[in-house]
């Protein structure tokens, strides 16, 4: 079972309180009618699916109900950090030091 730190509640809680919400920092085109089919395909269907540190969204459904972002190693399932939605993407080099 994963233990996840909610950056809003500032508590580390069991996975059962949270819902996974896919890869983080995937942004919709600013003017959707002006982008190509390939850009739409990438936005809708293509994800990085990395083997290693993965930027992802979680929602604290049985707590504050808010979405936040996390960096988790998809090989060990260890969380490197969690941070508030809208905060800038933390660089991996900064996180490696915290391991």
């Amino acid at each position: 079972m994963l233990l996840i730190h909610c950056p809003y509640c500032d508590e580390t809680l069991p996975e059962a309180e949270f819902a996974y919400a896919g890869e983080a920092h995937v942004s919709r085109a600013a003017v959707p009618s002006e982008v190509t089919d390939e850009v739409w395909r990438d936005f809708l269907f293509y994800r990085s699916n990395v083997r290693g540190p993965h930027y992802e969204r979680w929602r604290h459904v049985y707590g504050c109900g808010r979405f936040f972002n996390a960096v988790r190693d998809t090989v060990s399932d260890r969380f490197l950090t969690t941070y508030e939605a809208g905060a800038p993407k933390p660089a991996l080099t900064d996180l490696e030091g915290q391991k």
Partner: protein, 417 residues
């Protein structure tokens, strides 16, 4: 290769069982092959077998990072069925089922294919409407599938709880009688034996680290833990790790890798004559020939390559199993394990050519790849040999995610399956 027969059994019984040979050699990589297949699971080994047998291409290597059949082939719950909604899927899975029926004879290796029937339970009005639609669509496609009342379902599987006050009431069930189970390891071993006998090299403990392309962009070979292997064609059939391998060739795929767990109970006397699936609660159960109850669930919610999942999912699955089969509530579970499954957005496979000449892919089987093993292997071999898709796998292109022509089994079943 010694042929298995009643005569060989008697002969070895009388000579102290000393006449059995190794079923396939532990091959070392050569410098160059016509075709390199990445991943020695059922799909990869089967493709090598059909390449050698049906297309006369025997200079083939199957390269595996671990041991043969040690990935999802050895980790699934061995359910085989073909009652999918869409025409494209029905053709592909029914092609596999046709091959399953003759597979033990074909390979001279007992894969223990058992047509014990798969019962899919409907727990609510939506399930009833959806499954009845499946039954009608299947019948139009020549795929057997029949609607049963709760009482008929209980007659088919006596340990089923059809009490209307149950937590998950059974409102009916769809039964595919031709569906069933097979022994997963034997499928990998049978294909490996058949392929090796025709000259295919099976190279274990040899991870593929990258796919190399030449100056023209065509595939040149694979970098492995045991050095570079030149290849005219490369087919990747690496399940959960497909996107990692394909990324090295510059091909991105619409895949996400999730943990999928299964577990087995202590062995008990035969009590369950069929496979029962419940899509609404996402739990399924059958009884192996050893007597263990084999229980499967849905994927964990997060992506992972760890080959293990969390206990909350196991708890959820077992809670549902105990409601549906109250007789098993006091059984003990012996083992649980996980695999890494590659899931596409429409829950249908990607099987065919890629933008890179000479590179083919067979992936995206998600939680249901085992049932397709012979069919996927057969059409993958055709695609590699002829450099064009077989009519059966022609719709399962990578381009469908650009064109929007999805084969949306995700919407059809409302779960990965």
């Amino acid at each position: 290769m010694t042929r298995f027969s009643a005569f060989a059994l008697v002969k070895n019984a009388l000579t102290g069982q000393k006449g059995w040979e190794a079923q396939w050699p532990d091959s070392q990589p050569k410098q160059e092959y016509d075709v390199v297949i990445v991943g020695a699971g059922g799909h990869g080994l089967g493709a090598a077998y059909y390449l050698a047998k049906e297309h006369g291409i025997t200079n083939v290597a199957v390269v595996e990072k671990g041991w043969l059949g040690g990935g999802n082939t050895g980790r699934n719950t061995t359910i085989i069925r073909s009652n999918y909604l869409y025409d494209e899927s029905a053709r592909l899975y029914d092609h596999a089922l046709d091959l399953w029926e003759g597979l033990s004879q074909e390979l001279n290796y007992n894969v223990m294919f058992s047509r014990r029937g798969v019962l899919m339970l409907a727990h609510n009005v939506h399930d009833v409407q959806s499954f009845q639609r499946h039954v009608h669509a299947n019948r139009l496609n020549g795929v057997d599938n029949k609607w049963l009342t709760p009482w008929e379902a209980k007659q088919f599987c006596p340990i089923l709880n059809i009490d209307q006050d149950a937590r998950y009431p059974v409102l009916g069930a769809a039964l595919q009688r031709r569906a069933g189970t097979a022994r997963h390891d034997a499928v990998a071993w049978g294909y490996a034996r058949g392929a090796a006998a025709r000259g295919v090299d099976i190279i274990q403990n040899c991870p593929v680290t990258a796919i190399r392309r030449d100056a023209s962009g065509r595939v040149a070979g694979v970098e492995t833990g045991r050095g570079f292997i030149r290849a005219k064609k490369v087919a990747v059939s690496a399940a959960g790790h497909t996107s990692v391998v394909m990324d090295s060739a510059g091909v991105r795929l619409p895949l996400e890798s999730f943990p999928l767990q299964a577990l087995v109970s202590e062995p008990v006397k035969p009590c369950m004559p069929c496979v029962v699936m419940s899509n609404a609660v996402h739990a399924y159960m059958s009884q192996s020939d050893k007597g263990e109850l084999v229980i499967g669930s849905g994927t964990d919610q997060y992506t992972s390559y760890s080959q293990r999942g969390g206990l909350p999912l196991i708890e959820h699955t077992l809670a549902a199993i105990c409601e549906i089969f109250p007789t098993v509530t006091r059984m003990r579970m012996l083992r649980k394990w996980g695999g890494t499954v590659d899931v596409t957005p429409d829950r249908s496979a990607i099987l065919g050519k890629t933008p890179v000449p000479g590179l083919y892919v067979n992936c995206g089987w998600g939680t249901g790849g085992f049932k397709a093993t012979p069919g996927a292997a057969h059409v993958l071999a055709w695609t590699v040999a002829k450099d064009e898709p077989h009519p059966i796998n022609a719709p399962f292109t990578l381009e469908r995610f650009t064109s929007g022509r999805l084969i949306d089994e995700a919407a059809a079943a409302a779960v990965a399956h």
